[in-house]
């Protein structure tokens, strides 16, 4: 048999689009690079500026804290929503409706200005000035956490409902108490459904924290703004901030990829991850 040469079909339309794209992107890049109004040297100068690095720390702190708080609060809200008691589940629905239905930016400004209608808190003889408790940091953290909790509640509810009802019945029939069934049987299986969207929310939160700059909460964007308010290098500092946001989201995305790979997205991989995790827990338990 002689070898037959095969010439693949050429898709000329795709080539035309590709060349057009290169031309457009090249033109835009050239326009930016050749602009005489951008002080390029300012970017490396401010990239590792101490103020900027402090801002990054705070942005990460906001992200981690608000995610942790919202995971706990969201878990509680999700269970409340699934409660048979109409008032308990109604409260959770109302919470989710309210915090998802109003803009986060409004919520941030609201918490920052709360002393306008609650100037002080008095519990018995103890007296607090609202202003001294609700600092820009606390207001920002409260707003981010309470808002995120509403989304987290829906993610967790979806996860809990994705677990086959037969699992709960089997646990009940064996004599697991309700809490035991939830912690040992239902929740671990819900986790597989819950973890990927939590990863997405975390990545999104890294960028969402920039909204707290409206109350000058000293995150990365606030710091960049503070600097360009003095030296007017607006675009340069926004580029610096963007570079760092890109670095953070890229790192977070790769972390998410690793975690999801470990946990396994398919049924077939999941148990392996659980076994590994359990072994780790047991090893730690026996050490401690």
């Amino acid at each position: 048999m002689s070898e037959q040469r095969i010439i693949p079909a050429r898709n000329w339309g795709q080539w035309v689009i590709a060349i057009l794209l290169i031309a457009i992107v090249g033109f835009l890049l050239a326009m930016v690079i050749m602009s005489r109004h951008i002080t390029w040297s300012a970017i490396p100068q401010y990239l590792f500026d101490e103020t900027i690095l402090e801002g990054i720390k705070l942005t990460i702190l906001f992200t981690v804290l608000s995610m942790l708080i919202s995971i706990v609060a969201g878990g509680v809200l999700a269970m409340m929503r699934l409660s048979p008691n109409a008032i308990v589940s109604g409260f959770a629905s109302l919470y989710i409706w309210f915090f998802r239905g109003t803009p986060l930016l409004v919520q941030i400004i609201f918490w920052f200005n709360i002393q306008l209608f609650i100037p002080s808190i008095d519990i018995g003889s103890i007296h607090f000035d609202t202003n001294s408790i609700i600092t820009a940091f606390v207001a920002a953290l409260l707003a981010l956490s309470l808002n995120e909790a509403a989304y987290m509640a829906e993610i967790m509810r979806g996860g809990l409902m994705a677990v086959d009802s037969g699992q709960q019945e089997a646990a009940k029939a064996l004599g697991y108490a309700p809490t035991q069934a939830m912690l040992r049987i239902i929740f671990p299986q819900a986790l597989r459904v819950i973890i990927p969207p939590i990863g997405n929310q975390t990545i999104s939160m890294l960028k969402t924290t920039s909204l707290v700059s409206v109350v000058a909460a000293q995150d990365l964007l606030t710091r960049a703004q503070n600097i360009y308010a003095k030296n007017f290098l607006i675009i340069e500092l926004l580029i610096v901030a963007s570079i760092w946001y890109l670095v953070m989201t890229t790192v977070a995305s790769s972390l998410q990829y690793v975690i999801e790979r470990r946990l396994g997205r398919s049924t077939s991989d999941a148990p392996m991850a659980w076994r590994a995790a359990l072994r780790l827990l047991r090893a730690e338990g026996s050490n401690g």
Binding site: K172, A173, G175, A177, W274
Partner: protein, 263 residues
């Protein structure tokens, strides 16, 4: 409370059902079921689908809340505490305590998908009965031998066939040392060639003297293994008696029609 349990002395009675009723909305599924199961007895519940067999079975461990009547298992009222002539439904913890002694096998196996076979069988004894890990694992291995699955302790449910999963589910229920085993159509979700291996395990259990209530469509199994057969239709017990008698020479027209269709 006009009706009194027939065997209040607990002499060899495992399950006592008195006028058990259950409605889903306006639809009455159980219209007053009365029956008694003695210790060590194997009873098969037969009947067309929708006759209320499974619902009744699920009332025995209070997975289903009854609308009326009462069920006693080994002399204990199931699901309720009786005080001053009133029935107070038990808390989740109290129910859990009662269910520990009643094993249940489901149509769809319901093995814990995130646990391997060994954990599926040994978790409840460790968590609930407080057994040591060595004790629970040893017992689990013993039970795996009984259900003919030696050496499969590391497998996950998705790696097992339906028949194997159901046998693990039986072992899981037995690990709690129940005094009564409930089977809810244990072979209905299986491929025909896998039914035999599950029935073989159930036969062994019956021979060992386990008290069993089995909802099934396997007439041959019922005739061979059951001490007694109860035929239900439209929420009532139509006929009951020794297995061979009911299956081979049914008295009631509805039983006859049903059995004709099954053969």
């Amino acid at each position: 409370m006009t009706q009194q349990p027939a065997f209040t002395d607990g002499s060899g009675v495992m399950v006592e059902a008195l006028d058990v009723r259950k409605s889903f909305g306006a639809h009455e599924v159980l219209k007053g079921i009365n029956l008694t199961i003695r210790k060590g007895e194997v009873v098969c519940l037969l009947g067309p689908s929708g006759s209320g067999k499974s619902t009744f079975l699920r009332c025995i461990n209070h997975l289903e809340r009854m609308s009326g009547g009462r069920i006693l298992v080994d002399g204990h009222l199931i699901g309720y505490n009786e005080r001053h002539g009133l029935l107070y439904e038990m808390s989740g913890k109290e129910l859990a305590r009662q269910r520990q002694d009643i094993g249940m096998v489901f149509q769809r196996f319901n093995l814990f998908a995130h646990h391997d076979v060994l954990t599926n069988i040994s978790q409840a004894p460790m968590l609930i009965r407080g057994q040591s890990r060595e004790q629970a694992f040893a017992r689990a291995r013993e039970l795996l031998k009984l259900v003919d699955l030696e050496g499969r302790e590391d497998a996950y449910p998705y790696q097992l066939s339906g028949g194997q999963q159901q046998r693990v589910a039986i072992a899981r229920a037995l690990a709690m040392n129940p005094k009564l085993m409930l089977f809810d159509e244990p072979t209905s979700a299986l491929d025909p060639e896998l039914v035999g291996e599950v029935l073989a395990v159930m036969r062994k259990l019956a021979a060992d003297g386990m008290t069993m209530l089995v909802v099934t469509h396997e007439l041959a199994f019922a005739r061979e293994v059951a001490d007694r057969v109860i035929f239900m239709d439209q929420g009532v017990v139509v006929e009951e008696g020794p297995a061979q008698q009911v299956i081979d020479s049914p008295q009631h027209e509805r039983t006859k029609t049903f059995l004709r269709r099954m053969h």
